[in-house]
Amino acid sequence: MTHLPYIVAAYALGVIVPAWLGIAAFLRMRDAGRRLATIDPRHRK
C-alpha cells in the first residue's frame, strides 16, 4: 500500500477526534443527570 503513514495518520485522527468528543459528551451528560437527580426528584427514574 502506497503512502501508508499518511493514510494511517488520517484514519487515526478520523477515529480519535469523534471518539474523544463522544466520550466527553457522554460523561458530561451522565454527570449532569446525576447532579440533577440529587436535587430534582422528578428527574429520578
Binding site: 503512502h3 488520517a10 469523534p18 463522544g22 459528551a25
Partner: protein, 254 residues
C-alpha cells in the same frame, strides 16, 4: 390579525420542541439508536474504505484519506449551517433551546473543521508536495475554523450568558456568507484543490466502488456529529436546570 396568526403558527410548532422535559424525553429515545448507527456505519465505512476500496489510478492508496476528509468537510459546512439556523431561531423566535444548541454545535463544528484541515494537509503532502498552500478553498475553510472559534469565545466572554448568546448568534449569521464561498471557491478561482466529486445536481465523478464507502462513512460521521451535539445539548439543558434549582433553593433559604 391574520398576519399575526400566520406568524405565530410556526412559532407555536417550534416551541412544542422547546420544552426541556419533552426535549430530554425525545432525545433520550433517539440518542442510543443514533450512537449505535454512528458506530456501526463508521466501522463499515472506514473499514470498507481502508481494506475494500480500490486504489486510484492517479493518487494510488492516498485516495483512502478521502473517506475521512470529505465527511469532515461536509460536516464542517453542514454544522455551520445548523449553527446559523439555531442563531436565526434564537434571534427571531427566541427559541429557548436554540441558544444552548448553538453553543454546543460550535465546539463540535470547530473540531470537525480542524479534522478536515488536518486530514487535508496530510493528503496534500504526498499529492501536492506541501502541507499547506494559501489556496482559495483551504483559506476559506481556515476562516470557517476561526468563525467557529470566535463563536465559542464570544458565547463564553460575557458574565451574562444571554449577551454572549446574542453576540455569538450575530457572528454566526454574518459568517454564513463564507459557506457558499467555500463551496464555490474551486469554481470561482483557479485553485490547487480539486473540484467537488459529488454534487446534488449532477452525476458524481467518482466510481461506484469509491462512492459507496464514501456515502456510508459520510452517513456514519453525520450520525456521530448529531449524537455528540444532542448529548452535549442534553447535558447543557440539565446543567441549566441544576443552576436554576440551586438558585431557587438558595433564595428560599435566605
Amino acid at each position: 390579525m391574520e398576519a399575526n396568526s400566520s406568524f405565530g403558527a410556526p412559532r407555536r410548532s417550534l416551541h412544542r420542541f422547546a420544552n426541556p422535559g419533552r426535549f430530554l424525553r425525545l432525545t433520550g429515545k433517539i440518542l442510543p439508536w443514533l450512537s449505535f448507527g454512528a458506530f456501526f456505519l463508521l466501522a463499515v465505512g472506514l473499514g470498507w474504505g481502508f481494506f475494500g476500496a480500490p486504489a486510484d489510478w492517479q493518487q494510488g492508496d492516498a485516495v483512502r484519506i478521502m473517506f475521512v476528509h470529505v465527511p469532515a468537510a461536509q460536516l464542517a459546512m453542514g454544522g455551520y449551517l445548523a449553527l446559523a439556523l439555531c442563531s436565526l431561531l434564537s434571534i427571531v423566535w427566541r427559541h429557548p433551546l436554540a441558544d444552548l444548541a448553538a453553543s454546543e454545535i460550535s465546539p463540535v463544528g470547530a473540531a470537525f473543521t480542524g479534522l478536515c484541515l488536518a486530514t487535508g494537509s496530510i493528503w496534500g503532502r504526498p499529492m501536492w508536495g506541501t502541507w499547506w498552500t494559501w489556496d482559495a478553498r483551504l483559506t476559506s475553510v481556515l476562516i470557517l475554523f476561526f468563525l467557529y472559534l470566535g463563536h465559542v469565545a464570544l458565547t463564553r466572554a460575557f458574565d451574562d450568558p444571554e449577551r454572549g448568546y446574542r453576540a455569538g448568534a450575530i457572528l454566526s449569521l454574518v459568517g454564513v456568507v463564507n459557506v457558499p464561498i467555500i463551496k464555490f471557491s474551486v469554481d470561482w478561482w483557479n485553485t490547487l484543490h480539486q473540484p467537488a466529486s459529488i454534487s446534488l445536481t449532477g452525476a458524481p465523478s467518482l466510481h461506484v466502488s469509491l462512492l459507496l464507502p464514501l456515502l456510508v462513512a459520510s452517513l456514519g460521521y453525520a450520525c456521530a456529529f448529531a449524537a455528540i451535539v444532542i448529548a452535549r445539548t442534553r447535558a447543557a439543558v440539565m446543567e441549566r436546570r441544576v443552576r436554576a434549582l440551586l438558585l431557587t433553593h438558595a433564595k428560599e433559604a435566605a
